[in-house]
Symmetry: C2
Subunit: 368 residues, 2 copies
């Protein structure tokens, strides 16, 4: 029962399901187009903390608490946790997660970490290594600016190509089908009803489908020679192109087999490059592509440059925006492709390029 | 065929085998007690590079090249790569690994990353997700001092409790039993003979056994309130204690069931604390415990404080010192427990504690 397909993909014979997910964001994200969909919007971006790193830990901790509460379980029910953030030595995760006491696999994939964490958590659950596994990632605008560019107090100008790191954390709880049924006490998806969060009125009760991770394609490091830390979209687009192309080849699918192909944080400039690069390979995703960084902010109104970014960006947008559309049946199958730019302040100052990496995750609803 | 045992362990029903391993180290490691055992000792610690971060990438790249060469395969035969280092945003790995073009899971577990990478690679191979997977980690004394403490040029004094970051990279190639037999063309371990690297004379030909990873125990973050970045052993010992205790409980074993219990880089001070903490739990490992950080340097002669550290330390010591002893049959079963201290320069400067984490990997020879 090998689940390997093609050169770098897995198709799960026993796919894990998403039991619950959560999204915690900052004020700017709350003011954006998806504002009404997030679980928690902080009153300010400190989340009650003394410094930006601790603020990021606080929001990641909150996302974990929520995803656990929503599933009606205890932290000790979660066998393994897959987590990461953007800070050096992943300190936001280290200080956010210790109180949960869950065995931890620490990850680093820059802004692609949501894809990395969901991939490994799905692989772990599908292999029978865990009944329940969690994936959580975070980013914070202020801690990321300080980490990669300049502290906010310096008040540097930002070119239009810059992306705006999302202050946010998204968490996901994965389980095998049997465990999901045990948790929900329901055997068929038709019996599950919830409040439709995608309707702002919030009063409609609609059918809810289960959402599973049916496959993953793990990306490689791609370096097209971009050296501009103020243009991350261009640095990451080649890796997104590479993993999407590999994914479609491995699965024998075309772009049209997905209701949406959703990159993590390419922004406007990265999106254009991605679409052009894929066209050179005779793959046209223009009609069904979107980018979490373009969904989360109104760039013109909010002054967020080319779009949102950070490993919180794709996580909260998936949790608050796309998962409800899969649950309601509005979307049947999506390809979720978080994208990461591999740089540090030191590598940038030493004149190194900014290579990219991206990981693709197939999410499908049980809708027939 | 659930492979979960206890609260946080896995026992593989189809355990992966170590096809090959490699070790590349710096000059100081070459002058230490294990000097003759390493595959490559650099002429100087720059490895032909202009800066310390690039030097670390160069040695990680060399370790990958060697592990591939030794197995007689091509990089494209490796389906997945699990890798990490100590630098912010794992840049040593990003720049070391891109030329191999292998789908990459980026990891961060501080100095425990060798345990993290071996665990996930073993899980991936055992689940049938990959025929061949590689795990590689690295650290470099000069890049780590600059990253976590002071640049070498500052010439700060080092207290005796300090550990000395190993300049080194170790890589491991894992395969299922069928793939291993395909690669070696041999069906029984008795037919395999190699030069015994553990004998300095290097001329003895001895029987070689296969080595498998039969189980893993994934650790939690533990924080005992240590804040001294010059005493990492004390920060990591509680996590090592926790994962060893959990491992023995999950597997229903006692310390005596292991020929050796080998921590990553606790050094002399951390070792004492670990032994004391476990004694409080009625577990006595004093007789069969050792620490890679104590094996790799002669602390008195080499001025390396409490011992070696870094996620290269445990990796190269396993590859060059303990794996040959498992292959020759001198050791039958070991518990390999790389230990990590979760801090960054920023978290340290902000006065945060230094929590620890450790991951345990069971390595066994096929010796009856």
């Amino acid at each position: 029962m090998s689940e390997q397909i093609g050169k770098q993909s897995l198709r799960f014979s026993d796919p894990p399901y998403i039991v619950s997910s959560s999204s915690v964001v900052g004020t700017k994200e709350g003011e954006g187009p998806l504002g009404k969909l997030f679980d928690v919007i902080g009153e300010d971006d400190t989340f009650g903390s003394d410094n930006w790193e601790a603020a990021e830990s606080a929001l990641q901790k909150k996302a974990m608490e929520l995803v656990i509460d929503k599933a009606g379980i205890c932290p000790e029910d979660i066998r393994y946790l897959f987590a990461g953030d953007l800070l050096g030595q992943s300190v936001a995760s280290s200080f956010a997660l210790q109180s949960f006491g869950i065995p931890l696999f620490g990850l680093y994939g820059a802004c692609s970490t949501a894809g990395l964490a969901l991939s490994l958590a799905a692989m772990t659950v599908s292999a029978g290594y865990a009944d329940l596994a969690a994936a959580v990632t975070s980013s914070h605008f202020a801690s990321a600016e300080k980490q990669f560019r300049f502290p906010l107090e310096y008040a540097n100008q930002r070119p239009l190509s810059t992306t705006w790191t999302v202050t946010g954390s998204g968490a996901f709880l994965l389980a095998g089908k049997r465990k999901l049924e045990e948790l929900t006490g329901r055997n068929s998806p038709e019996k599950i009803y919830v409040e439709d969060q995608s309707e702002p009125a919030g009063t409609q009760w609609t059918r809810e489908y289960r959402v599973k991770i049916s496959g993953v394609t793990t990306g490689k490091i791609l370096d097209y020679g971009v050296r501009d830390s103020m243009n991350m979209g261009a640095a990451m687009a080649p890796a997104a192109k590479d993993v999407i192309e590999a994914h479609l080849k491995d699965f024998g699918r075309s772009a049209g087999d997905y209701d949406k192909i959703i990159t993590g944080d390419l922004g406007g400039i990265g999106r254009e490059i991605l679409i052009d690069l894929l066209r050179e390979k005779n793959i046209d995703i223009a009609g069904n592509h979107t980018d979490c960084g373009l969904e989360i902010f109104d760039n013109e109104k909010q002054g967020t440059g080319s779009g949102g970014s950070g490993c919180g960006c794709s996580a909260v947008t998936l949790s608050a925006h796309f998962l409800p559309m899969l649950r309601s049946g509005k979307l049947k199958r999506i390809l979720f492709v978080p994208t990461g730019a591999l740089l540090s302040k030191i590598s940038f100052n030493e004149g190194e390029n900014v290579p990219g990496i991206a990981h693709a995750v197939v999410l499908e609803s049980d809708r027939e």
